[in-house]
């Protein structure tokens, strides 16, 4: 082939689908010219398990456990949003103490998830020591989760009208001890992520999402806040006990004084949110009123009440990755008429396109990971080279990324 012909050829690089994103694993097809990405196509649905459809045969209490299994990392926020939707549709009262306990669980999940993400992000740029450091911290958060809920991953803590387990006085010292541990280690993590030259080189100016694009593409959560949009359900609306707490919007400006919307900003954003979550848990522990933890402890009674209810409700909760929204329609039957789930990654997929356009192949892992779609394990890439297929697996893609870090360091 003549040199002219090769320079003009663009390559198509499919990524996935053996690639564990959350609810929606993704199949990407990149069009690249040399090292630069020109266009991106996304295909979803490899983990379509018909969760919403399955709800037609189950009652709301059973759906709580189904919702928990939508995503193993957000195993609190889906039942939480579903409960909020049901409570709004059937106008069910919630025990006051439970509202605070729900905030504690939600923030604990955010700490676990963001620390997990920090490790994955470090891994993507070849900084594996940080991966192990963060997972050591995360295990403490998992222990605390187990202490409070009885389980490590699927927590089974949410119920309609309240929460299933109380935090008693004798449990408080353990919580405070662990929060202190997180605070101490937060400084360590912040030092690594904010002062390390390698991380700065790889993340500053990479994967930029402008404020306008974030707005138009309906991005949610830390992804949109890192682009400078103040959108945080915990502050915007009053649900659980968030309306009572002292909470403010966090954007990367708080630390750096400017918003670039790049990967570095998204790292800062999540770190600041971990700190905010620790403070919120402390506030809740202080302000928590005494009383019942569930408004109606008899599940049969709750179900009977829901069977009579007619109406629609929407539940929205700020999950670690952004807003999760559930819509429920009740029509006086055992099972809800409709249940629609929207996980945060759903909205954070389209923003990948402006983020990745113009970037290098070696930047795909860190840029894609910066929206926290949980690219924690394997993804596989096939390069279609003029009809000849050669495979580039996750390891090689990861190696490319690591090599780029090394090149930058020299």
């Amino acid at each position: 082939m003549s040199p002219e012909a090769t320079t003009k050829t663009t390559y198509h690089v499919p990524i996935g689908p053996i690639h564990p994103a959350l609810k929606e694993p993704v199949f990407f097809e990149f069009e690249i010219s040399g090292e630069r990405i020109i266009d991106i196509d996304v295909k979803l649905g490899h983990v379509h398990r018909a969760v919403e459809w399955a709800s037609r045969k189950r009652n709301p209490i059973q759906i709580l456990y189904l919702a928990e299994r939508i995503c193993g990392i957000c195993s609190y926020c889906h039942p939480a949003a579903f409960t909020l939707a049901i409570e709004a549709a059937a106008d069910i009262e919630v025990a006051e103490r439970a509202e605070y306990l729900r905030v504690i669980q939600g923030e604990l999940e955010r700490i676990t998830s963001h620390i997990l993400w920090a490790g994955v992000a470090a891994h993507e740029i070849g900084f594996d020591t940080v991966l192990f450091l963060t997972w050591e911290i995360r295990e403490r958060a998992m222990d605390l989760t187990e202490y409070l809920c009885g389980n490590r991953v699927t927590k089974g803590i949410m119920t309609i009208g309240g929460i299933r387990r109380d935090i008693t006085k004798d449990m408080l010292p353990r919580i405070q001890k662990d929060l202190k541990y997180f605070k101490d280690n937060f400084g360590k993590l912040a030092h690594i992520f904010l002062d390390d030259k390698t991380i700065k080189m790889r993340s500053q100016g990479a994967g930029i999402l402008t404020k306008e694009n974030a707005l138009k593409l309906c991005a949610v959560g830390p992804t949109t806040r890192a682009s400078g949009i103040k959108k945080d359900l915990r502050a915007d609306t009053s649900y659980f006990a968030y309306g009572d707490l002292d909470i403010d919007y966090i954007t990367p400006e708080a630390l750096t004084g400017e918003v670039n919307g790049d990967v570095y900003d998204r790292i800062i954003q999540r770190l600041l949110e971990v700190k905010q979550s620790i403070e919120l848990i402390e506030q809740c522990v202080d302000k928590m009123p005494a009383g019942d933890i569930v408004s109606e402890p008899k599940i049969a009674k709750v179900l009977a009440q829901l069977k009579k209810a007619n109406g629609e409700g929407v539940g929205r909760h700020e999950a670690p990755r952004g807003e999760v929204i559930h819509y429920v329609k009740l029509t006086g039957e055992d099972a809800p008429f409709t249940w629609k789930v929207r996980a945060p990654t759903y909205n954070n997929i389209l923003p990948w396109i402006p983020m990745l356009k113009g970037e290098q192949i070696a930047d795909i892992p860190i840029v894609a990971a910066s929206t926290d779609p949980c690219m924690s394990c394997t993804n596989r890439v096939a390069i279609v080279n003029n009809g000849q297929r050669s495979l580039l697996n996750k390891e090689q893609l990861h190696r490319l990324s690591v090599e780029k870090t090394r090149r930058l360091m020299h």
Binding site: E24, K43, L44, G45, H48, A50, E52, W53, A88, V94, E96, E99, L215, K216, L217, C218, A219, V220, I229, K230, K231, D232, L233, A235, D236, T237, S238, Y239, F240, A241, Y242, G243, D244, D248, Y249, K287, P289, E312, V314, R316, E323, I325, Y327, K329, F337, T338, K340, R342, Y346, N347, I349, L350
Partner: protein, 177 residues
Amino acid sequence: MTKDQKTPEEHVKYLKDKFNTNIISADIKKRAAGSKKNETPSIWMKIDKGAFKEIVKYIIEYNYPHLAIISGNDLGNNIELIYHFTVNYGTRLGEINLHISVELPKSKPEIETICDLIPGALITEREKQEFLGVKIKNIPDNRRLFLPDDFPKDVYPWRRDEKGLEKLYKNLHEVKK
């Protein structure tokens, strides 16, 4: 980021004046939470298909909304699409939820795309096409999104009629007779 923030009541009044008959019903629901019982307002509106795009334009002019999702119901003769918008985010406890419901007859389930106004609506519009069998006119990308390519053509999982899923139903724990 907003010029003048309207209360939910003002929104409803303004829209009712402007689009009068096109708005079939509008309710404001408020739900309190926490010890201080702060309220979150939501507007639930049923509107006519004809005015739909104009109303979306009005919201965008007021304050660029966040389109959370489009959800849908199969109501028998009609398919209902509910657009869940939120406006006024960025102000402490100032957010308003806006749920706009449009009913489309099953004989001609068509609606204009809003991707030209809100590009982020693409994924959810594609999802509605494959799960409810509605036709989104002028959608920039018409392909399937979640369902596999070999999935039967005329089956829409969220329908409750003959186009629903009964054929594909599979129960792993069914006791075989």
